[in-house]
Amino acid sequence: MLSAPKSYGVVVPRVPAVKAVCIGASAGGIEALTAVLPSVPADTPIPVFVVIHLPPGRSSRLVELFASRCQARVREPLDKEPIGPGIWFAAPDYHLLVESDFTFGFSVDEPVHFSRPAIDMLFTSAADVYGEGLVGIVLTGASQDGADGARAIRDAGGFVIVQDPMTALASTMPAAAVGRATPQIVTTLPEIALLLRDVARARES
């Protein structure tokens, strides 16, 4: 059991119940992810999915970039690849989805909130599959993307953490998620890093 940041007085998820984490970030996201992803332990037993909005047409160097900064394995999945533990980045120009047989799905459907990949697409499909075992984290961004997805996670019984808009480089996206999803925790990046380390740590059994 985690102890929540005191000021929020909320119940945090029971660690063994967490089956997966999904994270969405937009403007200012590289810095924010750099503050939180390295805290995922090397031997984490769960997958951590990440969507970050990048300018269109830019080929992704995210895997290289974060592989050097993270302890956990960092990858970009292929279509129908079985989901395993570690950090998985959505590829540019495709929506990333979670299928009910625990494989990755892809689509080139229209952008959502001007974005492909869209945070909403990942969060909503993951909420469908992991239900109350899912933790969703919405970080900095100047977009509405992620709010509906965070809502879907809450509706499915999952847990939502949002970066405190006051502390985010771009406040629009976390503020939208706070408004739409009534997250269990709204806090700073360092606190989110600690929470992520705890939910992603190896299970003692």
Binding site: P77, L78, D79, K80, E81, D101, F106, V108
Partner: protein
């Protein structure tokens, strides 16, 4: 996974069954996550609150189906989308194709035709179009009509031109189209080399032997069993040494047919039949 299927999951399965029984389009083996999303987007457009209501509407007002099909199959593409894929075709595959007296290509899931004309233009630039026939197939009649017309919004041309250049284009794209009334029409000489046809990777069989199959960002919408069927068709349509091109996130790595192919240009997802 939830132990019991949710009401929504059941409704979707029933809808797909109804579509299959009534309209003979088989979406039952499509990837559920994106299909679910597409159906959710379609519901309000049909004035339906539930998937069950949409099912009733379809069965009692069959004319609705064509409109729904646009939501279920809509695919966005550009000419020379992923230019490096087309550059690899030009540089690593065309030299081999020169050795054939006549050529057949199959663009499976051609949607509104952008990629079909991309291949036609490259083959023309390389002097092979005269001896080429391109089969362009899709399950969506409306998309096929647009593909056959070969007219695209003028606003899209500059992106097409940039992609064409990055794909190693030899002439200005303007050499292949005429613009009028806000549309750019691909030239008749290209269109004359293409046969557009209704064909389903889910229910139809192989119709010809071809040297090249290009099927991009279609398999991602299929669940594994249907992917296996589709790749099986490609395997059957291709002779030894024939080429198969897939989308940048698609792979034969998890396919039972993987041993029938070798990687030809790994990064651009070109495979070769062995």
């Amino acid at each position: 996974m939830n132990p019991a299927a949710s009401a929504l999951d059941i409704e979707i399965r029933l809808l797909l069954e109804a579509i299959y029984l009534r309209f003979h389009h088989d979406f039952r083996s499509y990837s559920m996550a994106s299909l679910k999303r597409r159906i959710a987007v379609a519901l309000p457009r049909f004035g339906c609150e539930t998937v069950s209501a949409l099912q009733a509407k379809l069965l009692h007002e069959p004319d609705t189906f064509n409109a729904l099909l646009q939501y279920l199959t809509v695919q966005v593409s550009d000419m020379f989308r992923d230019p490096s894929y087309f550059r690899a075709f030009r540089e690593k595959i065309v030299p081999d194709l020169r050795t054939y007296p006549s050529l057949k290509l199959w663009v499976a899931g051609c949607s509104t035709g952008e990629e079909v004309y991309s291949f036609a233009i490259i083959l023309d630039e390389e002097g092979l179009l005269d001896r080429t026939l391109i089969y362009a197939t899709d399950i969506n009649p409306e998309a096929l009509q647009k593909a056959e017309a070969g007219v695209y919004a003028v606003e899209r041309l500059s992106a097409f031109e940039e992609n064409h250049r990055l794909a190693g284009g030899k002439r200005p794209l303007a050499a292949y189209c005429t613009t009028a009334y806000g549309g750019a029409a691909l030239s008749r000489s290209l269109r004359a080399k293409v046969v557009f046809s209704d064909h389903s990777l889910a229910t139809d069989n192989v119709f010809a032997e071809v040297q090249v199959v290009s099927c991009r960002n279609v398999l991602i919408y299929f669940a594994r069993a249907l992917q296996d069927r589709a790749v099986g068709l490609f395997k059957e349509a291709l002779p030894r040494r024939g080429f198969l091109g897939l989308g940048s996130k698609e792979t034969l790595q998890f396919s039972p047919h993987m041993h029938a192919f070798e990687e030809h240009v790994r990064d651009d997802r070109w495979y070769r039949r062995c």
